[in-house]
Each structure stands twice: as C-alpha cells, then as structure tokens.
C-alpha cells in the first residue's frame, strides 16, 4: 500500500505540533508528511519570543531541528510558500513552482500582525513583532535608537515592550483603549497592572489614537494623537492584534468568515472535505483562538480525523469543542491571570473584589447570580489561586463555602481556602498546554510515578508553561495518599529524616561527627547510605579532612582511598586540570607516570586525563610525584565539583567575546572540594557558539557582549536536560555571587544523590522560586549561604597532599595489613598498546597458564 500524503502549509507552533503528533504515532510509517514554511527555519517557540532579548538564541527557541525531521522522514521546504491549491487535482503549487499532490491538506498558516492604517506607518524603523526575523530587525533598530514605542497594550504588546526594555530602550506603550489588556482584564486589574509596569520604568499612554507618524525634532519620529498630544520616538513597534492568515484559502474558494478566518467545523475541516485548518488561521463558531493550547487541541483533532479517514476507517474519536481562553502569565515580571468571563458580561452575574494597594494585589471573582458557580476571575500581582479557580469554572463545580474566601488571604497567614483536588472529576484538565487530565496524572501515579520528575516524563504535564505545577503536585500527592503510599522520605532505616532535614539538624546543633548525629537522632550502627550522606553534610559545613579518624568510616567506595575504584578493585587517578588548561611540562609528567606504572590512559569528557589500573600501594607513590609536579587532587572520586570545562575564549579564538578560560579556572579553583549531594559539573563558553556545551551542565556560563549569561540545573547522563537561563549580562562579581548562593542552597536542601536538575524541578515554584531565593533573597538567607561558601573556599585543602604528609594515614594504602604482597587476582591483557582488565574467559586462560608455569 502506498503511503498517504499529508501536506501541512506553515511550520509554526501548531503546524509542527500536528506533524509531531503524526510522526510519533503508531501510523507514522503509513504516512508521508510534507511541510512548507515561508520562514528560513523550522518551528520555534513564539510564546517565548521575548527571551531572544535576554540571551536565548534561535536554537534555544527551536521546537525541532532539520536533523530530527529528517530522522522522522518529514519532508520540509523552507523559504518557500504555497501560492495555489487545486482542489480537483488535489495538488498545491509553491512560489518557486514546486507542485505536490496530497491526500489531505492542512492549513496552519497562522496569523499576521495587524498594523493600523496610520499615515507614515511604513517607514524604516516601524516594525512588527512576530518572527525571529522581526526580532533581528528590532535588535538592529534598537542599536541605533534611544526611545521605543509599542503600539498596542494587549498581551503581545506588553511582551514586545518587555523586549524593547531588555534591549535598553526608554520604552513607551500606546494603547487605544482606556486600559491595558482590555480583553482579559477589568478596570481594577488594568489599573494595577499599569501602576506596576510604570514602576518598572515603562511609560503607559492610554486612550491614544495615533493619527500620523511624521519626522521628529528630538527623536527620529513624532507620533501625533487624535487628542492633540504627541510623543517622540526613534522606533515604533506595532502590536495591535493579529489577523488570521487566510489569503490562500480565500483565493481558492474556501469559506471565509466575515471578518476573516478560515471557517472550520468540529473536525476542523474547511468547506473542502480534504482540507483542514488549525491554529490562528481557523475560525470555529465565529471565533479565532489566539493562544497555542487551542491550536494544539485542533492539531490533535485533525491528526485523529485523518488517521481515521485514511488508515483505520474508524469513526473519528475527537472533535474540537471550543477552548477556554483563560490565561496566566508573567508580563514584564508582573503576574497576571484572566479566567472565563472576566468582565462579568453574563446576565445577573455578581462580583467579589479584593484590592490591596500595599501588597499591590488585585483579585476579582465573577460568580453566578446565586453565588454558587464561578464564571470568571481577574488576578493581578498574586495568581496562586489560578489553578483552583480555573478548575472550579471549567468543571462547573459549586463554590465551596463563601466565595470571598477564595480570594481573601486568611488572617493566620495560611493559604486561602481552595478546593481539594479530590473534588475534581477525573476529566478535569489540569495541564491545558499538553491537555493532561486529572485522570491521566492519577493513572501515571498508579503506574509507579511518585515524583514530579516522573510525572513530567510520563504525561508531559507541566512541561510547557509550568503554570499548573502546583496543581499537578497536589493531584499526585492526593493520589499517592489514596493508594495508601505513605510518602516516606526517610534517608534509611537509621534516620527518619530527609537529607535536607539532617542538614538543618546538623547546622542548628552544630554537630561535627557522625557518632553524635547517630546517637541523638538515629538508631542502629548506620549504613552505606546514611554514613556518606552525613559525611557530605558535615563536610559542607566544616570542610574537615575527609580521612580524619572521625570521618574515615563514612567515606564511600571512592572517597576512602581518594581514587575511583574500577571493576577489579584497582583505582583510577584524575589530577585536577582546572579549566582544561595544562602546560606541556605537566602533560609530560602525566605521561611519564602513566608509562612508568603502565596505567591505561584516557582523556575524560571533562577535559582532563584519567590514569587507570593503579593498585592501592601505588597511589601514595604516584601522588607524591604528582603533588611535586604541582598537581592537586581532581575529586573525580567525590560527590563534589568535578570540572569546569571551557572553550579557548577571547584570548585565541576569533569569535570569543570574553576570557572563558580564565573564568573557568577561577570558578574551578573557587569551588573545588565542595562536597554536595551529587557530582557537580560546570562549563564556561566564550561566546554564544557555546563550544564548551555549558547548557548541559549544572552551572553553565556563556559570554555575551554585555557580560556573562548564567544557566543552571542542566545535565547530561541518563536523562539529559538543558540548563535554564537564570540571569543575563552579569559582571564577574555578580556571577560568582549567584553561583555561590545557588550551589550552597542546593547543598543544603537537595536530597541524597539528587542532581541539580531534579532538585530544581522538585522545588515548588521551580526556576522562578530559585530566582526569587537567589536574586531577590526572598527567604533572607543569602548572607548565610554566601558565608557558608566563603568558609568552604577558605578551608580548602588538597586531600592528597595532606595524605602523603601523614605517615599514619599512608599505612592503609597497601593491599595487606600484614604483608607486602600484592593482590594475585589481577589479570590484564593488552589492547591498542595499553592494558585492560582481562575478561572472564581471558582470565581463565591466564590463570591456567600461571598454574602450568608453577
């Protein structure tokens, strides 16, 4: 059977989501997917567009790559657009003359920015905000401008204003309506939002109708307004709404709404049976849906419909039933949310309003005439109630108790009364971006998920905007409780505490040995879990020599002999090579030692050199030589800082903008020896080409023309994760300050063997919370965190240097306590000029040879 051909016109977020749905479905092999984009790149995240100005690159925003499409067999054409459709022959033709036939055609042409018909709106520095190319133009224009105006005070306009502000311009917002975000907010909410935005230094001008744009006196342009006033500016950004991109459909006879938009039915079919439309170009029940979540829902419906029609010949299971347009977002740092009928348009509806000028919080509830049902809400400044309120409305549930309690903070400082998640029906949609229901989350828990990380991986809930994180966690916890799973975070049978709790106990009580902690807070004799954990906590506070008598019994396999135990019981040796920079002389020393001791030699991923196969008694001899040559221990054995990888940076590289090697060395020397819940890796890149792969590290630093961008909580390994941009354009001092705080907060609060990524994902509030703690000092602990780090830095010692200077400690470094003999059980074979441990079969042969020769 030949493959069915599906052509998707447009590769925006929704078009890509549709392709991804089919390309990863069980029917992928029966379909040929073809897509066209008039843009020069594949789909990217337009929702996060303003991040382009805070350091994210086009690659960061990308939702897919050409390689991924090639691997999935998706045929794509960039920089070309479909210009005609032949509905009889079922073909499309592109501007470049390419003709392709289709079985089903999907229009995902999106929308275009509406530019009001103002004389003078077509000048060089009059721009729009929609694509990465637009951002590049804005960036270029901003570089030669001091003042910028955004025309339009809606959601997108405020996003655009954020971009101009980040580009360093004196920023103004000009809005035709009497308030900001007139669609989503009521008067009170709009007023507070305006106040907060003005506090941030953005000027807001409402009720202004621009009549013309002429040459300015002080700036490049002057905008004249209908009320006789004017405003001077160097550039203008139009963000006054979107219009569906329906030109193609219009030309080729598909039904179009009166005010634009391709008319679709509940299956998202247009007036032609084999042509569908999804996303912002589609008009359903007279409505355009300008958010991404409804677009994704349409994509799902069409994927189901097409598979049913072409392959399974079943009745399609899904229909589009409209979408809730409630939103929650952060605009210029201000939390804003709008739910349902925010304006109280419903007949006989009533309102509750809470206004706190001191804390700058505004909340309004719109309820039914009998006060029983929630119809809508506006939240500005504090949107914690969003998840609960949305569920009440979407599920048409009765408001529990007095509605006012939903928005009024209770006097004892407790959370305001919400609804228990238990009350939600299984069909309640918890994550609207990924359309995940309460039932699906519950099923994931029943299937074994018990952390937020598990849930995210299994259901994708909370992986797009993150707005539902708190609610997802509540559902998960409730389900765990219902299953009778006692959420037991005890470290092990000896301590009924988590690692973070033990850290608090040790800090407050000032304990310095495991024996004290066990005696007062634990039972039994300890084990291989609690001993190294407590050892690590003690080290992070007191930073004493790890082989000190009181601590030696706590050290894990690798730490106890300051080397990495390999499968045959021998060790590998990794001296520190800070930043990956090494002199030829030192390199020669490593070579000589490796040759003299016949150590298998390999370059590590962290830009240093690993020497394998040293026996216990050889470790001190080798380290004596290494220390004499100026090497220090590399802590490759420890749950501690491993390496700070770097690219060569501005000293040699033609593209480097800052000295990444010097920064990497400084950071590695600062944090070396810091004991942590898990290993920690850093990298520093000298420019945005990112050759050091800093975004895959716990701490990643990338140079920009304005300073350092800091990424946190990335990792490679089993579950790779890109780091999140934490702060931009930092000077050296602030960079180090933030890293000090992030690391110490991690060391004090993470669970045992928890990498930074999982730690952050499990912090309620995630990245934003971490920023609040570290940048804004929300908890008032930054001084303490910094002091803790300073102590660790000031008490650093090279453990190997200390060890080779202590004859008592060296006694342990021999295989037998009572003989000079060596372990006879070690067998090696040579491969590619080096030795490696013999395999089981090789060993048997070698043992036989030994016996024969005896």
């Amino acid at each position: 059977m030949s493959k069915k051909r599906i052509i998707v016109v447009g590769n925006g977020m929704v078009g890509h989501n549709f392709i991804d749905t089919l390309a990863t479905s069980e029917h992928a092999s029966e379909l040929e997917l073809i897509t066209f984009s008039e843009e020069p790149r594949l789909a990217y995240d337009r929702v996060q567009l303003s991040k382009y100005f805070s350091g994210s690159t086009a690659d960061d925003l990308a939702l897919t790559t050409e390689a991924a499409y090639q691997q999935q067999g998706v045929v794509y054409t960039l920089n070309d657009k479909v210009v005609s459709i032949d509905t009889h022959a079922k073909t499309v033709t592109t501007a470049h003359g390419q003709v392709e036939g289709y079985d089903k055609l999907v229009l995902a042409t999106g929308s275009y920015p509406f530019v009001p018909p103002i004389p003078g709106n077509d000048q060089e520095h009059c721009l729009v905000y929609r694509t990465i190319e637009d951002l590049e133009a804005i960036s270029a224009s901003a570089a030669v401008s001091k003042t910028g105006v955004v025309v339009g005070g809606g959601l997108l306009g405020l996003e655009a204003a954020n971009a101009l502000k980040q580009a360093g311009l004196d920023t103004h917002v000009v809005e035709f309506a009497p308030r900001l975000m007139a669609v989503q907010l009521d008067e009170g909410g709009g007023k507070l939002l305006r106040h907060k935005i003005e506090e941030l230094g953005v000027s807001v001008h409402t009720e202004k109708a621009t009549t013309e744009i002429v040459a300015g006196e002080e700036c490049r342009y002057r905008m004249n307004f209908a009320d006789g006033s004017h405003l001077e500016t160097d550039m203008i950004l139009f963000s006054a709404g979107i219009r569906p991109q329906d030109e193609l459909a219009r030309q080729f006879g598909l039904d179009i709404g009166e005010r634009g938009g391709i008319v679709i039915n509940d299956f998202c079919q247009t007036s032609e049976e084999d042509i569908y439309a999804i996303g912002e170009c589609a008009l359903w029940d007279g409505k355009i849906f300008g958010l991404v979540a409804p677009g994704y829902q349409m994509a799902k419906v069409v994927a189901d419909n097409i598979v049913s029609a072409l392959i399974t010949h079943d009745v399609p299971a899904l229909t589009f039933k409209g979408a809730d347009m409630s939103t929650k977002l952060k605009l210029l740092g201000v939390d804003v949310a709008s739910i349902g009928d925010a304006h109280g348009h419903t007949a006989c509806s009533k309102s509750y309003v809470f206004n706190d000028d001191i804390e700058q919080v505004y909340k309004r509830l719109v309820v039914s005439h009998d006060g029983k049902k929630l119809l809508g809400a506006v939240l500005v400044g504090d949107v914690d109630a969003y998840g609960n309120l949305l569920q009440l409305m979407l599920n048409d549930m009765d408001i529990p108790g007095n509605p006012a309690a939903l928005i009024v903070p209770s006097s004892d400082g407790e959370e305001s009364a919400g609804l228990g998640v238990a009350a939600l029906p299984d069909t309640a949609q918890i994550c609207s971006c990924q359309a995940v229901s309460k039932g699906e989350i519950a099923a994931a828990v029943q299937g074994g998920c018990c952390t937020m990380g598990d849930i995210k991986e299994a259901t994708k809930a909370s992986t797009v905007c993150g707005g539902c994180t708190a609610l997802v966690k509540q559902v998960m916890d409730a389900e765990l409780t219902a299953l009778g799973v006692e959420v037991n975070n005890n470290l092990c049978e000896h301590f009924a505490y988590t690692r973070a709790e033990l850290a608090d106990i040790i800090r407050v009580k000032g304990y310095s040995t495991f024996t004290e902690v066990l005696e007062h807070h634990g039972n039994g004799h300890g084990c291989e879990i609690c001993k190294p954990t407590v050892g690590s906590i003690l080290a992070s506070f007191n930073n004493e020599y790890v082989l000190k008598d009181a601590h030696i019994g706590l050290q894990d396999t690798n730490d106890i002999f300051l080397g990495n135990m390999q499968k045959d019981g021998t060790y590998s040796i990794v001296p520190r090579v800070a930043g990956g920079e090494i002199t030829p002389d030192k390199l020669i020393v490593l070579g000589e030692i490796a040759r003299d001791y016949d150590l298998y030699t390999k370059i590590t991923g962290g830009q240093r050199i690993d020497l394998f196969g040293a026996q216990l008694h050889q470790l001190p001899e080798i380290w004596e030589k290494l220390v004499a040559a100026g090497f220090e221990t590399g802590h490759a054995y420890g749950k501690s800082l491993r390496t700070v990888k770097s690219c060569v940076g501005s000293t040699w590289c033609r593209y480097g903008v800052l000295d990444s090697v010097s920064m990497a060395i400084a950071l590695e020397n600062r944090y070396k020896g810091l004991r942590a819940p898990h290993k920690i890796k850093f990298a520093v890149s000298g420019c945005t080409r990112e050759c050091a792969e800093a975004q895959s590290k716990d701490i990643g630093v990338i140079a920009t023309e304005n300073g350092w961008n800091l990424y946190v909580c990335g990792n490679g390994g089993m579950r790779p994760r890109h780091g999140d941009l934490f702060a931009s354009d930092l000077d050296d001092e602030t960079l180090v300050k933030y890293i000090d705080r992030v690391l110490m907060f991690y060391v004090r609060t993470a669970d045992r063997l928890q990498r930074t990524s999982v730690w952050m994902e499990n912090l309620e509030g995630g990245l934003d919370y971490l920023k609040d703690v570290v940048i804004n000092d929300k908890l008032g602990i930054c001084d303490e965190l910094e002091a803790g780090m300073t102590k660790v830095v000031n008490t650093y010692q090279c453990e190997w240097k200390t060890t080779i200077e202590s004859p008592e400690k060296l006694k342990r470094f021999s295989h037998f306590i009572n003989a000079d003999e060596q372990d006879k059980n070690l067998y090696y074979v040579r491969e590619r000029g080096q030795r490696r441990p013999a395999t089981e079969a090789e060993r048997i042969e070698l043992v036989n040879l030994d016996t024969a020769s005896e």
């Binding site: 039994g524 084990c527 609690c530 396999t557 135990m565 037998f816």
Partner: protein, 107 residues
Amino acid sequence: MTDWTTVCNLADIDPDTGVCALYNGEQVALFRWGSTETVYAINNFDPFGKANVLSRGIIGSVGERPVVASPLYKQHFDLSTGECLEDENVAVRHYQVKVENGVVLLA
C-alpha cells in the same frame, strides 16, 4: 585446640573501617566495630564483583545484623556469618577471630 595466628594490631584498624590480612594464603577482611574491641573476619573476595575488595566497604547494621556493603555493587554481607542478605544462596567464608592484648588473632 584452636590454633590462633596473630595477624595485626587492633590499632592498625581505624574505627569502623576494614583492612585485609593475609592468612594461610587467604585474603581475610577484618572489620572493627566502632572504637570497640569487636572485630569481624570474612573472606575478602566479592563473589558478585569477582574482586578482592570487601575490606574496603562501609560497615553498618541492617536491623540487628552487622554488615558490610560491597564497595563495587553494594550487596550486604553479614559480618558474623558471611551470608549475603540480598541472595540467600551466596555466602562468603567467615573466620574465628579474637582480640587479646591489642592484638588481632585468626583461626
């Protein structure tokens, strides 16, 4: 009569750690329980990892049983009996051991 052989001094074993002694051509892992005079002796060979490493594991308790966790793959062995807690079919040899006048003896 039991034939006791001196292998090392108690002071050679740091509290709560192990050492390996050569005894009649066998590798014996000796563990000292805290700072006490109690010493346990089992064979040093890890039957899972197939390497002579048990003396380098962390010791502790599982319930009432004194154990060592293999430094390679963390299986637990009962220090008194040599039994593996994870797999009842596996045990390592255990030895009679005593401490007299600060000296550790094996039989």
